[in-house]
C-alpha cells in the first residue's frame, strides 16, 4: 500500500495577502532560545527545514544556493583572502563553502545564539560539518559587539543575518556597515543578505539596506539568486567593497582551476547574477 502523506502543512505569510505552504511529515524540534523560537520540520519536498519565529531560514533542498552565492562570488573576486568573519552563519553552511579554499587561514563565526548552533549540529549535519574545519572558531557573542573591537582585521566579512527586525536588527544599520568598514583590510569585501525586492512590504527594507551600505563603501553592487522559500522566490545579496569590483576584478579562470564542486554557482552565473531587472535597478539607483 502506498504511503499516505499527512494533510499537515507549515505556513508562512509572505505578505498580508500571500502565503507559502509546505506539506510537513514530521515536526522534529521546537525550542526557544533567549533570541527566538526555533523549529525544525521534515517535508517531502524540501527535506528538513528550520524556521526562526515562524519564518523559514533554510532547507536542505536549497541551502546550497545561498551558501554558495554568498561565498563563491566574493572569493572569485578577491585575489587573496586569508581571514574571514561570518556574522550569524551558526548552521555551518557558509563555513563549509569557505573550507574549500586552502589559502584561508582563519574563519571566525560570531553567533550569539548557542542553541541555534546546537540544533543545526543535531539536525543538519551536512551544514554543521563546516563548523568542524580546524580554521573555524565560534564566538558566542552579539555580532555588533564582536565587530566593534575589530580594526583592520579581515579580508572578507559575510553577514549571514536575514531579518532586519527582531534581534538581528543591529546588523542592518549604518553603524554596522561602518564598523565592518573599520574591521576590514584596505582591500576588504563585505557581502550581506539584501532581502527581496518584489513585494511592497519587503521593498522598504531592501531600499534601506542599500541606502545605508551605499554611504559606507566606495563600491556597492547587488546580485540575485533564486531561492524558492523566500518571498517571491527572489532574493538579493549585497557586495560592498573597498577596492575590488565584482565584475571587473572577477577572475573566472583562477576560480575554475580550484575545481570546487558546486550546485548553483558557476562563473557564467556570476556575471549574470549582477544583471538585474529594471525595477530592481531603479530601486537601487533611487537610494543612491
Amino acid at each position: 500500500m502506498a504511503k499516505k502523506s499527512l494533510d499537515c502543512w507549515f505556513e508562512e505569510m509572505h505578505t498580508d495577502n500571500v502565503k507559502m505552504s509546505i506539506r510537513v511529515d514530521q515536526h522534529l524540534y521546537s525550542g526557544s532560545s533567549e533570541f527566538r523560537r526555533i523549529d525544525v520540520f521534515d517535508s517531502p519536498e524540501f527535506g528538513k527545514f528550520l524556521t526562526s519565529n515562524g519564518n523559514v531560514i533554510f532547507s536542505e533542498q536549497e541551502e546550497f544556493t545561498y551558501d554558495e552565492m554568498i561565498v563563491h562570488v566574493p572569493m572569485a573576486v578577491h585575489p587573496d583572502v586569508k581571514r574571514v568573519l561570518v556574522i550569524g552563519g551558526g548552521d555551518g553552511g557558509v563555513a563549509r563553502e569557505l573550507s574549500h579554499y586552502k589559502e584561508i587561514e582563519v574563519i571566525d563565526i560570531a553567533e550569539p545564539d548557542k542553541m541555534f548552533v546546537d540544533v543545526c549540529r543535531k539536525f543538519f549535519p551536512d551544514n554543521a560539518i563546516g563548523l568542524e574545519d580546524v580554521r573555524v572558531r565560534i564566538y558566542y557573542e552579539d555580532g555588533l559587539r564582536f565587530l566593534r573591537r575589530c580594526k583592520d582585521k579581515y579580508d572578507l566579512i559575510i553577514n549571514d543575518a536575514t531579518d532586519p527586525l527582531g534581534h538581528e536588527a543591529g546588523l542592518f544599520t549604518k553603524e554596522f556597515y561602518g564598523n565592518c568598514f573599520k574591521a576590514l583590510h584596505d582591500d576588504g569585501i563585505m557581502v550581506y543578505q539584501h532581502g527581496s525586492p518584489f513585494f511592497d512590504e519587503d521593498e522598504e527594507n531592501c531600499r534601506a539596506m542599500h541606502r545605508k551600505a551605499f554611504r559606507s563603501f566606495p563600491i556597492n553592487r547587488v546580485y540575485q539568486a533564486h531561492i524558492p522559500t523566500c518571498p517571491a522566490g527572489y532574493w538579493l545579496f549585497g557586495f560592498a567593497s573597498k577596492k575590488y569590483h565584482p565584475l571587473k576584478d572577477f577572475d573566472p579562470e583562477r576560480w575554475e582551476k580550484r575545481k570546487i564542486k558546486t550546485w548553483y554557482y558557476t562563473t557564467h552565473l556570476h556575471q549574470g547574477a549582477f544583471m538585474l531587472p529594471k525595477y530592481v535597478e531603479d530601486i537601487l539607483t533611487e537610494e543612491e
Binding site: 552579539d142 559587539r145 536588527a169
Partner: protein, 482 residues
C-alpha cells in the same frame, strides 16, 4: 508601601467598566467614541479613543476628586511614601509651578539654584516672588552644572532668613544629586519649606541603591515626571506633598491654572504606571541600572568618549549620582554633544534625549533592550571613526552669576522695546532665553545682559541647539526694559 493594595488600579478599572457599558454620549468630546472622527480612530486606535471621555460621576473629577481619582491618588501617595499625591495633567511644569505658587506669594523670597527648569522661573513671573540664586558649581572639564553645595545654601539662608522656601533640583538633568537630607533639614530649621523638582527622579522611589528621594528626605513637596522614568504618557505627572502641607490649599493653587477637561488617557496612564512601579519597580530599575553600567563600560572603551558614572561623587557638589542616567562626554572626539546628537539622529536613526556643548544624554529605561545599547555603542564608534577632530578649545560652560536688577514679574510686565541682539548689552532682559532641551534659562526676565551671555547664546545657535523663549523666532532680537 502597602503592597497588597498596590495591586488595585481604581481609575483604570472605572474606565474599563465604563467602556464596557457603551453609554450613549450626549456630552463632550464631540468625536463621540471616534464615530465623528474616523481619522482619529485610524491614527490612535479604537481602544484609545473610547476612553477619551469627559469627567462624570462614575469617573470622578480631577478638579475635586471624591471617588476613583481620589482613591488612585491615595494609592500613589502610598507608593511614593507621601502624605498626599495629586495627579497632574499639565506635565511636571504644572507640578513645579504649583509647588512654587504654594510656597510663595508676591514679594516672598525663594532660594533656588540658577540652573532650574524654566517652569520654576515662570512661576515667579506669575506670583511676583523674588529669586535668591545659588551658584551651581560647574565641572569645567565635563561642561556640566553640578548640585548645590550645603555651604552655599547655608550662606543664602543666613543672608535671607525671611525666605519662604528652598527649591532643590534633584537629580539634575545630568543625574547629579545634592545632599538632599541636609538641605531639607536646613530649610526646616530655618522655617522654610523644602521643595524638590524630582522631574528626573521617579525611579529613586522604587530602585535599590539609588540616591535618596524627596519624600524620604522629609521634603514638603515634590514634582515627579511620571512620563520620564515612570512609564506613563507624556504630559502626565505627580505632585507629592508631605504631612505638614495643607493639601486643600495646594488643591486650590493647582486649580488656579489647571484645565477643567483633564484627559483620562493621561489619568488612566498614571494609575496603571503607579501600579507597575509599585509591583515591579525594583526589578525593572535593577535591569535598567545594569544596562546603563554595561553601556558605560562599552562606550568608555571607544577612544575619545567619557561616559561618567559614580566615580564623580565628591561628597559636595556631586553628593550622589543617578547611575541609571547615561551621559557621554564628547569633547575627546572634538565634537560638541549637540553635533553628536544630530549625527546620531540623522545618520543612524538613533534619537538621544539631549545634547549640549559637551555631552549627549541617553535615557535608559525598562523599554530598552541590550541590542539597542549595542547599536548606540556601534554608532558612537562609527561617528568617532568618521567625524572625529582634534580636541578643540571648548567654550567652557562657566556659570556667570546673573546680575538681577528686577524681579521676574516686574521685568516681564514692564514697558519694553525689542532690540537686535548685539545692541542689548547692559540692558535688563524682559524675557527668557534657553536651549531646549534642557529648558534651563540662559537668561531670565530681570537679569542684565552681558557680553559673555551673548557669546554663549551665539555659540549655542551656531552649534545647532534648539532655542526658545524670546518673542523673536530666530533669536535675533530680545525684549529689554525701556
Amino acid at each position: 508601601m502597602d503592597l497588597s493594595r498596590q495591586n488595585e488600579a481604581p481609575l483604570y478599572d472605572a474606565l474599563e467598566r465604563f467602556r464596557r457599558l457603551r453609554v450613549v454620549p450626549f456630552d463632550v468630546p464631540g468625536h463621540k467614541r471616534g464615530r465623528g472622527n474616523p481619522q482619529l480612530v485610524e491614527f490612535l486606535g479604537q481602544k484609545c479613543v473610547e476612553v477619551d471621555v469627559n469627567s462624570m460621576k462614575p469617573l470622578d473629577n480631577l478638579c475635586h476628586p471624591v471617588s476613583v481619582i481620589r482613591d488612585a491618588e491615595a494609592l500613589a501617595a502610598d507608593a511614593f511614601g507621601a502624605a498626599h499625591a495629586f495627579f497632574m495633567v499639565g506635565g511636571t511644569t504644572g507640578a513645579v509651578q504649583s509647588m512654587v505658587l504654594t510656597a510663595c506669594k508676591h514679594g516672598d523670597k525663594i532660594i533656588m539654584p540658577r540652573n532650574v527648569h524654566k517652569s520654576a522661573i515662570n512661576a515667579l513671573v506669575l506670583c511676583g516672588a523674588i529669586p535668591v540664586y545659588i551658584d551651581p558649581k560647574v565641572d569645567t572639564k565635563l561642561g556640566i552644572p553640578l548640585g548645590m553645595e550645603l555651604a552655599d545654601v547655608k550662606k543664602a539662608v543666613e543672608a535671607n532668613p525671611d525666605a519662604k522656601a528652598i527649591l532643590i533640583n534633584n537629580p539634575s538633568y545630568y543625574g547629579i544629586c545634592s545632599d538632599l537630607r541636609a538641605i531639607v533639614d536646613l530649610a526646616h530649621q530655618s522655617g522654610m519649606m523644602a521643595l524638590v523638582d524630582e522631574a528626573h527622579g521617579t525611579h529613586l522611589y522604587f530602585g535599590d541603591d539609588l540616591p535618596l528621594n524627596g519624600m524620604a528626605a522629609g521634603a514638603d513637596m515634590s514634582a515627579i515626571s511620571m512620563h520620564k522614568s515612570g512609564g506613563s504618557l507624556t504630559q502626565s505627572s505627580l505632585l507629592l506633598t508631605g504631612a505638614s502641607v495643607n493639601e486643600g490649599y495646594v488643591s486650590n493653587i493647582i486649580n488656579l491654572t489647571q484645565t477643567t477637561s483633564a484627559s483620562y488617557l493621561l489619568l488612566g496612564s498614571l494609575d496603571i504606571s503607579r501600579r507597575n512601579l509599585a509591583l515591579h519597580g525594583r526589578e525593572s530599575f535593577a535591569k535598567v541600572r545594569s544596562m546603563a553600567d554595561y553601556a558605560r563600560e562599552e562606550i568608555n572603551e571607544i577612544d575619545g568618549y567619557y561616559a561618567f558614572g559614580a566615580e564623580l561623587i565628591n561628597g559636595g557638589s556631586i553628593y550622589d549620582f543617578d547611575v541609571t542616567k547615561l551621559v557621554v562626554n564628547t569633547r575627546g572626539i572634538g565634537l560638541t554633544g549637540i553635533e553628536v546628537y544630530d549625527l546620531l539622529r540623522e545618520e543612524y536613526d538613533i534619537q538621544m534625549e539631549f545634547g549640549d556643548l559637551s555631552n549627549v544624554l541617553a535615557y535608559i529605561s525598562i523599554g530598552d533592550r541590550l541590542q539597542d545599547i549595542e547599536r548606540l555603542a556601534g554608532a558612537l564608534d562609527d561617528i568617532a571613526r568618521l567625524y572625529a577632530k582634534p580636541e578643540g578649545n571648548f567654550f567652557s560652560a562657566e556659570y556667570v552669576t546673573p546680575i538681577v536688577k528686577a524681579t521676574p514679574q516686574e521685568a516681564f510686565y514692564a514697558e519694553k522695546i525689542k532690540l537686535p541682539l548685539q545692541e542689548t548689552v547692559g540692558r535688563i532682559c524682559a524675557e527668557s532665553v534657553m536651549c531646549y532641551p534642557p529648558g534651563i534659562p540662559i537668561l531670565a526676565p530681570g537679569e542684565v545682559i552681558t557680553e559673555d551671555i551673548l557669546a554663549y547664546i551665539n555659540l549655542a545657535k551656531e552649534k545647532g541647539c534648539s532655542m526658545q523663549g524670546p518673542e523673536s523666532e530666530d533669536i535675533s532680537e530680545l525684549c529689554v526694559l525701556k
